[in-house]
């Protein structure tokens, strides 16, 4: 348990009162600064290197036409898309992990990525005319996967173990169906699916970033209302119910929010592994307390994806490593590092 919440300031107004988690807010501000830095790097550095002054000039429209095009039409929209995708995934992971008090509960383990892929493949193989709305389709597939999960598991179970095992089973099942479809499908269509499934932000921009960020803000807002109740879950479900939390309603709402977030997250650039799992864990370690700030996890996720996309661009230029690949590798290494340096608090 965090020892700072005793000293956190509390704001009381006529209608409501809430606690301002000071340390979390400081960390969030720091993360935003870091993300700003990474954003600047991703705008400035790539195949073509720009000095910060040139970036600023391009952003304000005063620089050369070429730079302006590069920064405003290519790099900035792409970075925004990467940011929002990561934020959505981080949020989804944080919601699930907080609800089940289980660091392993993350959308990709539960089959969301595979559900999204399956929806995309079905559309591409049987309804090729709808291929331009791929992103909506993948979000739909993600929700469907969650729905199946809730139907099969009926309840989360202690520490979400049952949820998790059923989720693993479901994700394997969906993956198997996907493989069958992939091996039987025509190669021309399979190309589009394969490129999407690898998780890349080439060609992504505001068209994806805007609706997704609206969705993320909506989910953040709703989950902020639920935050107090979800926090009480960390004392155990029975205790929370005893205090007056409507546990079933909270659980359903949280899982729904996680599903919406995860679906939006994978719809931007394809399924990104590991961000939803690692971002909340990383944030919790930085904070030093298992009690997460959802905004913080979203920021962490956004930062990870942005870094992954940027690193993928510059490492082997001009061959771009897909962001999904980079996130998977770096995320895994990061998690390993976290696991190898146990700090006693926060699992």
């Amino acid at each position: 348990m965090s020892d700072s919440f005793v000293t956190d300031p509390v704001v009381r107004t006529r209608f409501c009162s809430f606690r301002l988690p000071r340390r979390a807010m400081e960390l969030n501000l720091a993360l935003m600064a870091v993300m700003g830095g990474v954003l600047l790097c991703s705008l400035a550095l790539g195949e073509t290197r720009l000095a910060p002054g040139e970036v600023w000039a391009a952003l304000t429209g005063a620089g050369e036409v070429g730079h302006g095009l590069l920064v405003n039409a290519i790099r900035l929209p792409r970075s925004c898309a990467a940011l929002t995708a990561g934020a959505a995934l981080g949020l989804a992971g944080a919601l699930l992990q907080t609800l089940t008090r289980n660091r392993l509960a993350s959308p990709e383990v539960l089959g969301v990525n595979d559900g999204g892929l399956m929806a995309v493949m079905i559309v591409v193989l049987f309804l090729p005319s709808a291929s331009s709305a791929l992103w909506m389709v993948s979000a739909g597939g993600a929700y469907l996967a969650f729905l199946l999960l809730m139907v099969f598991s009926r309840d989360i179970g202690a520490h979400g173990h049952r949820f998790l095992v059923i989720g693993i089973g479901l994700s394997q099942l969906l993956r198997a169906v996907n493989e069958l479809m992939l091996s039987a499908g025509q190669l021309q269509h399979v190309t589009a699916v394969y490129v999407w499934s690898v998780g890349s932000f080439v060609g992504r921009g505001y068209a994806e970033a805007l609706p997704v960020s609206a969705g993320v803000l909506f989910c953040l807002g709703w989950s902020w209302r639920l935050q107090r109740d979800i926090d009480l879950f960390s004392y155990g479900e029975a205790t929370a119910a005893g205090v007056g939390v409507r546990t079933t309603s909270v659980k359903i709402q949280t899982v729904l929010l996680a599903a919406v977030s995860a679906g939006l997250g994978i719809s931007v650039g394809g399924p990104l592994a590991f961000v939803a799992l690692a971002a909340p864990v990383a944030y919790a370690r930085l904070l030093g307390s298992p009690r997460l700030s959802l905004l913080g996890a979203a920021l962490c996720g956004g930062g990870m994806t942005l870094t992954g996309d940027w690193v993928g661009r510059i490492l082997l230029a001009p061959i771009e490593l897909p962001a999904g690949l980079v996130c998977r590798t770096l995320g895994g290494l990061f998690l390993l590092w976290l696991l190898v340096h146990p700090k006693g608090r926060g699992r």
Partner: protein
């Protein structure tokens, strides 16, 4: 004797499997051949199919299934975690990375070289998981192990993706191989596979008593005179050998190492030796059935076996996780 029943069922599956396949060699033709019918058209073809194609495949399925089942059971025992499985812990990923890296950088081509590469990879994966998990101390939760496995599997997959980006040849070969299939297994590959699997089995047998003691907890095991550390080490080596052999022969088959021990637990929960044996037998049985289906459901093509195992194993897993009795066992 329940184990006797399991063995008989396995034998029945094996025999039945001889009769089915994707060509025109149907069970009726096989029976006629076996009973020495002389006016069989194209007798040579039937012989070739039975002895050069189906026999090595079925034997391969029995071998690979036994390896995965046994490896899964061992892992679950030494980690005291019902979710431990070679795929989830990144060991399959390590073996796969070993094979692909071997193909790409060292030019490994023969069955033995593939097996060696897979073994090195599997060993690397297993050791990495155990080291990382144990950093948390003796009281590490089962969750820590799975997280470590996930992290390691992710890293392996990332590196694998990196290697495959460079060369299309490897990508094409890998894309079907990673689905896990027993197609194309030849008799010449079976001997090296046995050579790799037998030491694994021997090691597993050597750890039986130690593993049984592990179930009581490390302290009690030590007081009883066993050495948990050594047991774990031997078991880890065995798992690496078994997984490396199996993956090099057929590619990674997911969920077999999860399903076989679950099923075995229903038959034989208490005695460690029999539990391990049952797990191996169930693994073989499931894979033989899956392989038979692979050959028949999409004639004349082949379906990947791992996919079929997952189609069978995943609902089974969901079903088992839903029933209330094992639920208590999950929450250790």
């Amino acid at each position: 004797m329940r184990i006797g029943a399991v063995i008989l069922v396995l034998l029945a599956f094996v025999l039945l499997s001889f009769g089915f396949g994707s060509g025109e060699v149907s069970p009726v033709v096989v029976l006629r051949y076996l009973f020495g019918a002389t006016e069989l058209p194209d007798r040579e073809h039937v012989e070739m199919v039975l002895w050069s194609l189906r026999l090595p495949r079925i034997l391969g399925a029995v071998l690979v299934g036994a390896c995965f089942g046994l490896a899964g059971a061992l892992l679950q025992t030494i980690t005291r975690n019902r979710l431990a499985e070679t795929d989830l812990l990144g060991i399959n990923g390590g073996a796969a990375l070993g094979v692909v890296a071997g193909m790409a950088y060292v030019g490994a081509a023969t069955a033995t070289e593939h097996m060696l590469a897979a073994f090195v990879g599997a060993l690397g994966g297993t050791l990495a998981v155990v080291v990382v998990a144990r950093r948390g101390g003796e009281t590490s939760s089962p969750l820590r192990l799975i997280l470590a496995g996930l992290a390691i599997a992710s890293v392996f997959q990332g590196v694998l993706g990196f290697i495959l980006l460079e060369d299309q040849n490897h990508l094409d070969r890998y894309r079907f191989w990673v689905l896990g299939s027993l197609a194309g297994v030849r008799t010449s590959q079976l001997a090296p596979a046995l050579a790799g699997a037998v030491p694994g089995w021997v090691l597993a047998v050597a750890t039986v008593r130690g593993c049984a003691a592990l179930n009581l907890g490390d302290e009690i095991a030590e007081n009883l005179g066993h050495r948990p550390g050594r047991t774990r080490l031997l078991a880890v080596l065995s798992v690496a050998l078994l997984t490396g052999t199996a993956v090099s022969l057929s590619g990674p088959v997911v969920l077999l190492g999860l399903v076989a021990p679950y099923a075995a637990r229903h038959v034989e929960r208490d005695r460690m030796g029999r539990f391990l044996l049952c797990s191996a037998l169930f693994g073989s049985g499931v894979l033989v059935v899956a392989d038979t289906l692979c050959r028949t459901i999409v004639r004349p093509y082949e379906a990947p076996a791992s996919v079929l195992v997952a189609l069978v194993g995943a609902p089974l897993l969901i079903h088992i996780a839903r029933s209330p009795r094992p639920l208590a066992a999950l929450d250790r």
